[in-house]
């Protein structure tokens, strides 16, 4: 391990956190949707991909990246609303298998529609000009855009926190995530809450997809790979727990980056090994409710 310096470890940590940021955004949506609707959303990766493609389309039609950051979540969130209303709502109360299967089928359809519309090959997605280049973060030069991803994630998390803590609607969601029955007891219009939660989850996924686009470029399959990892994060954090999703997301990012330092080819399996370990010690994840969905 020649050349293993503190600076390098510092860089790895930063890289890990930046990597984790995208996981966090995806896991939050998954966790929110699962916690409230008990829907295991297999189409989440497809919405993530859709975010990148909608961004691509907007940019090609005269939009800029900053506008996309606002419009993409709105557009994809809108699609999410429609999906919940038309496809998922009829399945409530039928157990978790059915929404799972439906969203799985839906992910096939979304990916294929994108292939038909945009083609099978991917597209480049340029990093916005002001965010290009690398900056000195004390331990080395780190790409500015990745710092922006960390910042943007923090902003989204802060906004979400404000929304959940300071609005009455947020209160309902927090209560509901802890116990879905409570919401009904409170006499709230449950279907409207669920509709909005699903829309929010997909909007955040789309935002994550847009953020990831300049890192990786855009292809129709981009959601598939990351979905499995996002599930790991969600489960490690405890399904239904937002705090868990945040901590687990960063943890997984850091575990990947640290594994990359010592045994890079094991970076992928490390994620799964971590999950197995966490669940064997704590079967409901960090902050999950015990016995949920059993």
């Amino acid at each position: 391990m020649a050349g293993l310096t503190l600076d390098l470890i510092g860089m790895q940590l930063f890289a890990g956190v930046a990597l984790g940021a995208v996981y966090v955004l995806l896991a939050i949506g998954l966790s929110l949707i699962f916690g409230m609707l008990t829907v295991v959303n297999f189409a989440h990766g497809a919405f993530y991909m859709l975010g990148a493609y909608v961004g691509l389309w907007l940019m090609a039609h005269g939009g800029n990246f900053w506008l996309c950051l606002v419009l993409v979540p709105l557009v994809v969130g809108g699609i999410g609303l429609a999906v919940e209303r038309v496809l998922i709502r009829p399945l409530y109360g039928r157990g978790i298998d059915y929404p799972l299967l439906l969203t799985f089928g839906l992910s096939y359809i979304i990916v294929e529609l994108v292939r038909i519309t945009f083609g099978k090959a991917g597209f480049p997605f340029d990093t916005p000009e002001v965010l290009q280049g690398a900056v000195d973060i004390g331990v080395g030069y780190f790409p500015l855009y990745r710092l922006f991803v960390i910042g943007a994630t923090a902003v989204i998390l802060f906004g979400l926190w404000l929304f959940l803590e300071r609005t009455s609607f947020g209160l309902i969601i927090r209560a509901g995530a802890r116990d879905p029955l409570i919401v009904r007891v409170l006499g709230v219009n449950v279907s409207r809450v669920w509709l909005i939660v699903f829309g929010m989850g997909t909007a955040i996924a789309a935002f994550a997809g847009l953020l990831a686009a300049p890192l990786q470029g855009v292809i129709p399959e981009m959601g598939g790979t990351i979905l499995a990892e996002a599930f790991v994060v969600t489960v490690v954090g405890g399904m239904g727990s937002l705090l868990g999703a945040v901590l687990a997301g960063i943890l997984v990012g850091v575990v990947v980056s640290m594994t990359s330092l010592f045994a890079p080819e094991m970076a992928k399996v490390a994620i799964f090994a971590l999950m197995a370990l966490v669940l064997l010690i704590r079967p409901q994840g960090f902050f999950g409710r015990a016995g949920l969905m059993s």
């Binding site: 050349g3 310096t5 390098l8 860089m11 790895q12 890289a15 890990g16 930046a18 990597l19 292939r115 038909i116 519309t117 945009f118 083609g119 099978k120 090959a121 991917g122 597209f123 480049p124 340029d126 990093t127 290009q132 280049g133 690398a134 080395g140 030069y141 790409p143 855009y145 990745r146 890192l215 990786q216 470029g217 292809i219 399959e221 981009m222 790979t225 990351i226 990947v256 980056s257 990359s260 330092l261 890079p264 080819e265 094991m266 970076a267 992928k268 399996v269």
Partner: protein, 414 residues
Amino acid sequence: MTSKTSKSTTLNRRSLIAGGAALAAAPFSFHTARAQEATIKIGFPVPLTGPYGAEAQDQVRAAEVAIAEFNAGGGLGGRKAELLVRDDKLNPGEAATRALELIENDKANFIVGSLSAAVQLAINNVTKQRGVIFNSISQSDAINEVADFSKYTFHEALTPHMTAGAVGRYAFSKFGKKVAFLTADYAYGHEMVRGFQEAGKGMGVEVLGDIRHPIGATDFSTLLPRLQSMKPDILVINNFGRDQQIALKQATDFGLKKTTKIVVPIMLFTGRQAAGLAAFDGVIGGTSYYWGVEDQLPSAKSFNDQFRKMHGGRVPSDYGAMGYAGVRTVLQAVKNAGTAETDKVITALEALKYDYYKGPQYFRKCDHQSVQSVMIIECKTKDMRNEADVFQVVASEAPNEANLRSCEALGHKA
């Protein structure tokens, strides 16, 4: 029937991929046209779905050109050729099933195709057991080795050893001797590393490190700081397709290009189009074919023109072009042998000396590897004639058996 063309535009590819009009016209006659006995059937399994769908589609287009030429030339005494396209979904199990379908059900005479090492090895195992000629158009070192090779196995594509060797010899002499590798952790990646290292022997090359990443990685940010800290003259990125695009993009973001020359064994035409100039700018890579050589090579010019004519003015990609050569070699051998009988076609293939699109080629006797040129390319940044004019050929290594792994090394008796 092969004049049926898949007209595709970048934004709308809702076109039928079936190779023949018969398939398109009668979607449910999945037995494929029970054409008269006389038709020479070439099964063509390629990954139409999956990450290499774009390349696969181009392979089909190029193969169609070969079929059309053969049929326009009167076929084999009037016997026409037919292309049976199958989607192997980039999955070896699916590919083996498709190969079984093509052989057992469609009675295909030959199989040409595949776009991954694992897939071609799976198809090869099926075809060699059943004594059917398979001409692989995808890179692999393993398929030439004695364990997998059979007399029915032909390999039209380059091998990682040839590609990496050519790129290595070029790069090490030009950009420096301190080399670091970033390698996808599977056979293809390892084979590339081996190719580079053998090329570097005797050139005083110093390997600073070889960092392996899991195949299908979407993020290299955790590996790049380490590579950066090694301060290499050359960073060789031994991965393929999407992995390569992302790795190049992120290496650019991390500013690696400022201090280091980045080299890839295979630089894909479609990859360059998907990832954009910024990622590929300044990168040196190898390829089996770039259409731009038509100015120097008459065979390339003629192939490109045929392709343009049949496919709405587009130009063939590197992997696509191998679909052409893969099918045309087999059909030419059929013509030379005067029959579609397997053993005679094998003999004809072994005797074939051809120049179809990239200069002279022939199949080496011991492992049926096509001995051919390797082109070294780099991105064009200016003077592009059109959208497809993305590379320029900076060097070309002439066909030379010495650049292949020796027959003994592959386990063949000399």
